[in-house]
Amino acid sequence: MFDRVKRLLKRAASLQITIVLLAFFAVLLFWGVLYQSKVGVDLATERFFGSFFIWVFDVIPLPGLYSLLVVSAIHLILSMLYRIPQQKKSIGLYTMHLALLILILGGLIGGFSRVPLKGYGIVDGKTDVVFERSSEDYEIVLNDSLSFPLPPWGELKSFQLGPYDFKMILSCEEGYPIVKAKEERLILKNASGFQGFECRDKKESVQFPGIALVVKHNEFHHEEKILLGLNERRPYILTGGEQLRLSNWREKMPFSIQVISVDKTGADVLISEKGDSFPRRIALNVPYKSSHYSIYFSTVLDSFDDQKIVLFKAKKDLFDFVPYLFTILLLAGLALHYLILREGKKS
C-alpha cells in the first residue's frame, strides 16, 4: 500500500506534470490577456487570476489561477521530495524551486489577507489622516477614538460609548433622507442638514445609507435624536461638543500622519511613529511604507468651506516581503546552479 502511494506521489512529481501545469499557466495567461482587451484589466484579472475556476459559457468550469497555484504548490513539494536529485549539486535547483513555492503560497495567502484602505486628511497640520477599510464593515465613532461596530443593516442595538448611551432606532442601507420633515416623529438632527430619514425597499435615486440614533448623556440626561449618514464628510457635533460619525471600519495604524500642505502631485506630511516625528512627502510614485502598510497619494479635493481634503490610498499586506524573499532566493538559486555547473565542467 505504502509503495503504491509512493509510486503515485512520484508520478505526480514527474516532469510531464510540470509541463502540463506550465502549459495550463501559459494558456490561462494568454487567454486572460486577450480577455483584458475586451473587458479591461480589472475585471479580467478578477475572473482569470483572482478565482479558482473560470466558467466558460457559465457552465463549463476550467481551472483559474488559484486552483493552478494550489496544484502547483503540491507538485512543487512532491518534486522536491521525490524528483530533484537529493545531492549537493542540486542545491541551486532546490533553492529556485523553494523560491517558487514561497511565491505561490505567499501569493495565495497574501491574496486573501491583503487589506485595501482609503485615507482622508484635512490640510491643517493638526488633524490625523483617517484610514478606513474599503470593505463593507462600518462603525460608529466618537471623537475619532471610541468606536462601536455597526451591526448588519436593519439590525438595531443599544450600546455605550464614553459618557453616552446610544439606542439605534433606524438602520438602512437604502435610506432616503428628508430635507425638511413635517411630522414630529421624523425630526432628527444631522450634520448635512437633513431632518428626516426613511428606509425604503425599492432603490431611490437619492440613497443615503445611515442610521438614526437616540443619544443620551448618562450624567446630564440630555437626550437628542440624530441622523448619521455613511460617507458624510462632516462629523455630527453632539451638544457636549463631541464628534460623532458613521464610517467604514477605521484601521488603527502604528503611526499617525498630519497633512501640512498639498499640491497636485503630492502632500507634505508630518509622520509620528514610535515617539518620533519627521516630515515626509507622499507623492505620486513616492509612497510611504512602514510596518506592512503602504500609503499612496491619491488626489486632493476642495471642500465647500475652502478646506482642502487629501485622499490617500493604502494597503496593509502582511506578506509584502514574499516577492522580495522570492527574488533573493531565486537569484541565489540561479547563481548557485550556475556556479555548480561551472565547477562541474572544470572538474
Partner: protein, 542 residues
C-alpha cells in the same frame, strides 16, 4: 579639412539652436517643425522647403500655404467622403477646410474604426495648421473699426482703420473702465476675448519668462504690456542640448547604421562565395562601425533627454540591437562562432529597418510619464529585460541555424543562449516588480506587458523542462526554440496592440500587418527548415 567640418557643424548648430516649449519639453524649432510635418504627411521636407522653412512660412505667411498639398490621406474612400479627388494622396488645407464640419463630427466619435481614426488625425492636423497660421495674429492688423468716436475714446490712431492686437492692447490695457462708454467697453472686452482665444491656441509658447521656470504665452506678454520677444528664445542652459538634438536629426545615425549593416550582409554573402580574408575583415569593420553608431545614437539620446534613453519602445529596440551585437561580438571573438553573423545581421537589419524611422522621424524624443520617472529602476529593469529579450531572440535565431546545421556545439550554444535569455528575462521581471512595488504599490498587477514577459518565461521553461525530462528529443527542443522569435514578437509588440495597461509608452498603431507578415514568414521558414532537417536525418540514417 577638420577645421572646415568643425566650422560647418558650428554654423549649423548656431542656426538651429532656438528652443521652444512644446509637448512637455524645450526642443529646437527644427524638431518641432519636423514633428508638425511628420503629422501632416510623414515626411521631413516639402517640395523645396525643409520642415523648418515650411513651418516658418505657415506662421509668417499663412495665405501663401493654404493651397500647398500638405495633408496626406491614405484611404481613397476618405478622400471620396470629403469630396476630394480620390486619386490624389495629398490635399491642401483650403480643400479640407470645406469639410470642416464633417471632420469635426468624426472627431467626436468614440469608435476605433480605421476610417474614423484617420479622419480624427486629419481633423487634428488641420487644427494644428490653423493654430500655426494664427500664431502671429497678435502682430497682424486684423481688428477693424471705422468709428472715429470709438478710436478717439480708446486713444487709437485715427488715420488707421485696422489694428493689431499688440498695438490695440498697448493702448487700451491700462484704460480706466469707468471712463469708457458702454459701446467702447463692449468693443474692448470682446476684443480682449477674441485675442485671448486666438493666442491661447497658439502652439508656440515662449520660454522662459522673467520668473524662473515659468512658461509664458504671447498673451501674457501682451497683457502685461511687455514687448513680445522673438517666439523662440535660446535658453542658455539648454543651447548645447538643443544643438545636439538638431545634429542628431540631421545626421540620422540609425539610417547610416542600417546602410553599414546592409553592406556587411552583402560582404558576408560575398565571403561565402569567395573566401577572401580582406572582404571578411571589411565585413567585421562594417559590423563594428554599425554597433558603434547604434551605441552613439543611444548616447546622444541619453544626453539630449538627460535621462536613460529607454522611454519608448523603439529606444528599447535600439538597446536590444546594441545588446545583440555585443552578444554576437562575444560569441565571435571568445567562442569563434561566426556562423550566426549573417543571419543575426539580417535579423538586426529587419529590426533596425522598423526602428530607424521612428528614431528620427518627427520629434522622436518623448517625455517619460511622471508615473514611470525613475532613472535607476528604469535603467536597470529595462536594460535587464532587454538583455533577456535579446537572448530569447538570438536563441530563436540559433534554433533556425541548428535546423540547418545540426551539431553538438550548436545545440549546446542554443541551450546556453536560451538559459541566458530566460534568466535575464526573469531578473528583468523581478526588477520591474520591485520598481512597480515601490512606485505603484504592487509587485505584480497582471498588466498585459507583465503578462507578456511572463508568457515568454513560461514558454522557455516548458521547453527547458521538456528537454530535461526527455519529453522531447534534441530536434524537438530545437523546433520548440525556433518559435522563440515569434513568441518574443507577440509578447513584445503584439501586446502593445491591445492598447491597455499601465505601460502606455509602448502603445503604437499600424504594426499589425508587419507583425502578421513576420509571423507567417517565420512559421513557413521553421516548417521548411524542419523538412530539410528531417530529410538530412533520413539520408544520414540510410
Amino acid at each position: 579639412m577638420r577645421k572646415v567640418v568643425l566650422f560647418t557643424l558650428l554654423l549649423i548648430s548656431l542656426l538651429y539652436s532656438e528652443g521652444i516649449y512644446s509637448q512637455g519639453r524645450i526642443k529646437p524649432f527644427d524638431s518641432f517643425s519636423r514633428e508638425v510635418l511628420y503629422h501632416f504627411n510623414g515626411k521631413t521636407s516639402f517640395q523645396e522647403f525643409s520642415a523648418k522653412e515650411l513651418v516658418l512660412k505657415i506662421i509668417q505667411d499663412p495665405a501663401s500655404t493654404e493651397d500647398f498639398e500638405l495633408f496626406k490621406i491614405n484611404r481613397a474612400e476618405i478622400a471620396a467622403l470629403l469630396h476630394l479627388d480620390s486619386k490624389k494622396r495629398y490635399h491642401s488645407y483650403s480643400s479640407l477646410k470645406k469639410s470642416e464640419l464633417l471632420l469635426q463630427q468624426y472627431n467626436e466619435r468614440e469608435d476605433k474604426h480605421p476610417i474614423t481614426l484617420e479622419l480624427k488625425d486629419i481633423y487634428k492636423n488641420t487644427r494644428l495648421y490653423e493654430s500655426l497660421a494664427h500664431a502671429l495674429d497678435y502682430k497682424r492688423p486684423w481688428i477693424q473699426t471705422e468709428s472715429d468716436s470709438l478710436k478717439s475714446e480708446l486713444g487709437l490712431d485715427l488715420a488707421k482703420s485696422s489694428y493689431s492686437p499688440e498695438e490695440l492692447l498697448s493702448k487700451i490695457r491700462l484704460q480706466d473702465s469707468t471712463l469708457l462708454s458702454d459701446a467702447a467697453l463692449w468693443w474692448r472686452d470682446s476684443l480682449l476675448f477674441q485675442t485671448y482665444m486666438s493666442l491661447q491656441e497658439s502652439p508656440l509658447r515662449i520660454y522662459p519668462s522673467e520668473k524662473e521656470g515659468e512658461l509664458v504665452s504671447a498673451w501674457d506678454y501682451l497683457w502685461r504690456g511687455v514687448p513680445i520677444p522673438s517666439y523662440s528664445i535660446p535658453p542658455e542652459e539648454n543651447s548645447l542640448k538643443l544643438r545636439v538634438e538638431v545634429f542628431y536629426h540631421q545626421w540620422n545615425l540609425p539610417q547610416k547604421a542600417l546602410i553599414l549593416l546592409g553592406l556587411a550582409i552583402l560582404m558576408g554573402f560575398i565571403t561565402r562565395v569567395f573566401e577572401n580574408r580582406f572582404i571578411k575583415r571589411v565585413q567585421i569593420i562594417l559590423l563594428g562601425s554599425c554597433g558603434l553608431l547604434l551605441t552613439l545614437t543611444l548616447g546622444l539620446r541619453a544626453f539630449i533627454m538627460q535621462a536613460p534613453p529607454l522611454a519608448s519602445l523603439y529606444e528599447v529596440m535600439l538597446l536590444v540591437l546594441v545588446l545583440i551585437s555585443f552578444i554576437l561580438g562575444f560569441l565571435s571573438i571568445k567562442k569563434s562562432l561566426t556562423i550566426a553573423i549573417i543571419p543575426s545581421s539580417l535579423l538586426m537589419f529587419i529590426l533596425l529597418f522598423f526602428a530607424q524611422n521612428a528614431l528620427v522621424q518627427g520629434d522622436s524624443f518623448s517625455v517619460l510619464p511622471a508615473l514611470l520617472n525613475s532613472s535607476f529602476w528604469l535603467t536597470t529593469h529595462v536594460f535587464t529585460i532587454a538583455l533577456g529579450y535579446s537572448g530569447m531572440i538570438l536563441s530563436g535565431l540559433w534554433a533556425h541555424l541548428c535546423m540547418l546545421k545540426p551539431s553538438k556545439q550548436n545545440h549546446r550554444v542554443l541551450y546556453g543562449i536560451l538559459v541566458f535569455g530566460m534568466s535575464f528575462t526573469v531578473i528583468g521581471i523581478l526588477l520591474g516588480g520591485i520598481w512597480a512595488d515601490l512606485a505603484w504599490g504592487r509587485f505584480w498587477g497582471w498588466d498585459p506587458k507583465e503578462c507578456g514577459a511572463l508568457f515568454l518565461v513560461l514558454w522557455a521553461m516548458i521547453s527547458l523542462h521538456a528537454k530535461a525530462g526527455r519529453v522531447i528529443t534534441q530536434e524537438g527542443f530545437v523546433f520548440f526554440s525556433a518559435w522563440n522569435m515569434i513568441i518574443v514578437a507577440l509578447c513584445w509588440f503584439g501586446i502593445n496592440l491591445l492598447g491597455i495597461g499601465l505601460h502606455s509608452y509602448g502603445f503604437q498603431r499600424g504594426i499589425e500587418l508587419s507583425l502578421l507578415i513576420f509571423i507567417i514568414a517565420d512559421s513557413f521558414l521553421i516548417f521548411f527548415l524542419t523538412s530539410i532537417q528531417r530529410r538530412q536525418m533520413r539520408s544520414s540514417l540510410e
